[in-house]
């Protein structure tokens, strides 16, 4: 009896384990399947039961209904995300270099402040930040988002950690050869840091492509709105246009999902890098 128990139980346990894993995967993926499938369904098929994954008569009419406003929103999102990602890359790499490879008084203290600021949620400082932006005359202007998004404690930390793994002897050798700090930064550090720069770019892309709170606060004009803001307008309308909603969600999800599919490693590394710091 005991013999058969020990033999069967691991098998049954394994079975249960895989069922759990598969069921959880189903729960995770199902809502995304609903988005994709509903995006291509005509209005009268959306609430059909049982729900069909492949629409009976696939249509693009939901996307057509977005044609008036959404190209503008998508363009704004692309433009803003591009600029913020670029600006963050500059501020994070230069900051990381100053904190890892240059020596100056107050370095560790300032770095501690940077790190501590990671804990401060934007929501907790949005009132004064908004007042500063308004006084600068940048309310309802894309610059508000580029400037308030320019500093990244996470990125500076991430890249600094990586820079510290590059031996100082490389830099010393270059300095003796008469290279300036700028040359070392561009010619040595930048090329060596490519993997971590990819992580940083992907992280800030994901963040700002999805960002909702800051655009909600800083943008009101229709022609300046980003994709998530445009999508949120659906929530305040009395009649719900489910088809176009899912079409818009589809547009918002697809780029990130594609990048995730091909560069999952970088997402995971970014999370782990900050986590291991503890």
């Amino acid at each position: 009896m005991t013999w058969s128990k020990t033999r069967i139980l691991p098998g049954a346990g394994k079975m249960a384990l895989y069922l759990l894993l598969l069921f959880t995967a189903f729960l995770i993926l199902m809502p995304l399947v609903v988005v994709v499938s509903t995006a291509f369904k005509p209005d009268d098929q959306i609430y059909e039961f049982p729900m069909r994954i492949i629409p009976r008569t696939p249509t693009l009419e939901n996307f057509g209904k977005l044609a008036q406003n959404f190209p503008r929103y998508i363009w704004n999102s692309c433009k803003l995300t591009f600029w913020i990602v670029l600006v963050q890359l500059i501020t994070a790499t230069t900051g990381a270099y100053a904190f890892s490879k240059l020596r100056w008084r107050g370095r560790d203290f300032l770095f501690l402040l940077y790190i501590l600021s990671m804990m401060v949620p934007i929501q907790a400082i949005i009132i004064p930040q908004f007042l500063i932006i308004r006084n600068l005359g940048l309310y309802d202007n894309h610059w508000a988002l580029v400037l308030t998004g320019s500093f990244t404690a996470f990125g500076t930390f991430l890249i600094k950690q990586y820079f510290m793994t590059i031996p100082d002897s490389y830099l010393e050798a270059a300095r003796i050869d008469g290279a300036s700090e700028y040359m070392i930064f561009f010619r040595i550090m930048f090329p060596l840091a490519k993997p971590v720069l990819a992580t940083q770019v992907i992280f800030s892309f994901r963040y700002f492509w999805n960002d909702f709170f800051a655009p909600l606060i800083y943008l009101t004009s229709q022609h300046l709105k980003t994709l998530p803001l445009g999508m949120a307008d659906f929530a305040t309308e009395t009649y719900t246009y489910v088809g176009p909603q899912m079409a818009a969600s589809f547009i918002s999800i697809v780029p990130v999902m594609l990048i995730f599919l091909f560069a999952q490693r970088y997402f995971v590394e970014g999370v782990a890098a900050v986590g291991v710091k503890g």
């Binding site: 894993l21 039961f49 020596r103 004064p128 007042l131 930064f185 997402f267 999370v271």
Partner: protein, 298 residues
């Protein structure tokens, strides 16, 4: 090493300024200003005056604020609990040799990278009380399904479910990272000593994970206090806050007071309370990780 002295001030500044400008103007100054504004009745106009702790007294006396603080606490308790629990369970499972391990890891982490607005819209469709696929299915099985987002007692629960759905994978990745740092030989030693699976978990895995566990809880609590997007999108936009204010979390109250009613002084006082919570949680993490966390199990 010290042969190389401090770098010239101008070179340091040129590397530092790009990040420092944003940090000072848009992070550091606002933190300071939040305290200042919270002591005034500032409403955006040129005329305002110092009111001392008036805003704080008013807030703690107001039903709306107390309600939103209570809702935020409930939201925090449940999301943190389930995110950490599920994150840990799936990290332990997927740390073993499992078929399709990469697929499962990737799938569970995936929602975390998606727009919370898109996710919110998707779940509004799924949880639609009348025609949504979930309730149709429950009715098909002969149940009386809940109203989900439209129900006074289920709206917050629904938002908790969506939040956990979206972010437990993040904590799973953190724990998977933490598990890599545990020395394999400790397990072998424990096994030789005759420790069973449960014993091994409590005397090797958990102590080994304690720094990451502590960090994860801190992050999860701070994030839970920030919750806003899901509430805004799923329970009614600017005028929302859910049925009978059931999902009016702290940041939503800040948003409404600040940006719908322009009571900047009062909203700043609420922000200071939020900052206080963040400070306390961070402080506990900082002190606690020295006292309670085991770093020596390497």
């Amino acid at each position: 090493m010290d042969a190389h002295q401090h770098t010239s001030r101008w070179i340091v500044l040129s590397f530092l300024l790009p990040s420092l400008i944003g940090f000072i103007i848009f992070i550091l100054t606002p933190i300071g200003m939040a305290f200042g504004i919270s002591l005034t009745n500032f409403a955006g106009g040129p005329r305002f005056r110092f009111v001392g702790l008036g805003n704080f007294i008013q807030a703690f006396g107001s039903a709306a604020f107390r309600n939103s603080f209570r809702i935020t606490l409930v939201f925090t308790l449940w999301t943190v609990l389930f995110q950490i629990l599920l994150g840990m369970v799936f990290a332990l499972i997927l740390n073993r040799k499992v078929i399709l391990r990469t697929f499962f890891r990737g799938t569970y982490f995936l929602p975390n990278v998606l727009s919370s607005i898109a996710v919110g819209l998707a779940f509004m469709l799924i949880f639609d009380p009348q025609r949504g696929p979930l309730n149709q299915l429950l009715r098909h099985w002969g149940m009386r399904p809940p109203l989900w987002l439209s129900g006074e007692h289920t709206a917050l629960l629904t938002i908790i479910i969506v939040t956990v759905w979206q972010s437990f994978g993040y904590y799973m990745v953190l724990f998977l990272g933490g598990l890599q740092t545990i020395n394999r030989s400790l397990y072998e030693a424990a096994e030789i000593d005759g420790a069973g699976a449960i014993r091994r978990f409590f005397s090797v895995t958990l102590p080994g994970l304690s720094p990451i566990l502590f960090y994860s809880i801190t992050i999860a609590v701070i994030r839970a206090f920030q919750v806003f997007d899901q509430v805004y999108i799923m329970t009614g936009g600017q005028l929302g806050g859910g049925p009978a204010g059931a999902t009016s979390v702290l940041v939503f109250d800040i948003y409404r007071n600040g940006f719908a009613q322009f009571r900047f002084g009062y909203a700043a006082a609420e922000s200071v309370v939020l900052l206080g919570v963040v400070f306390i949680v961070t402080f506990i993490q900082y002190r606690g990780q020295k006292r309670w966390v085991t770093y020596d199990v390497v």
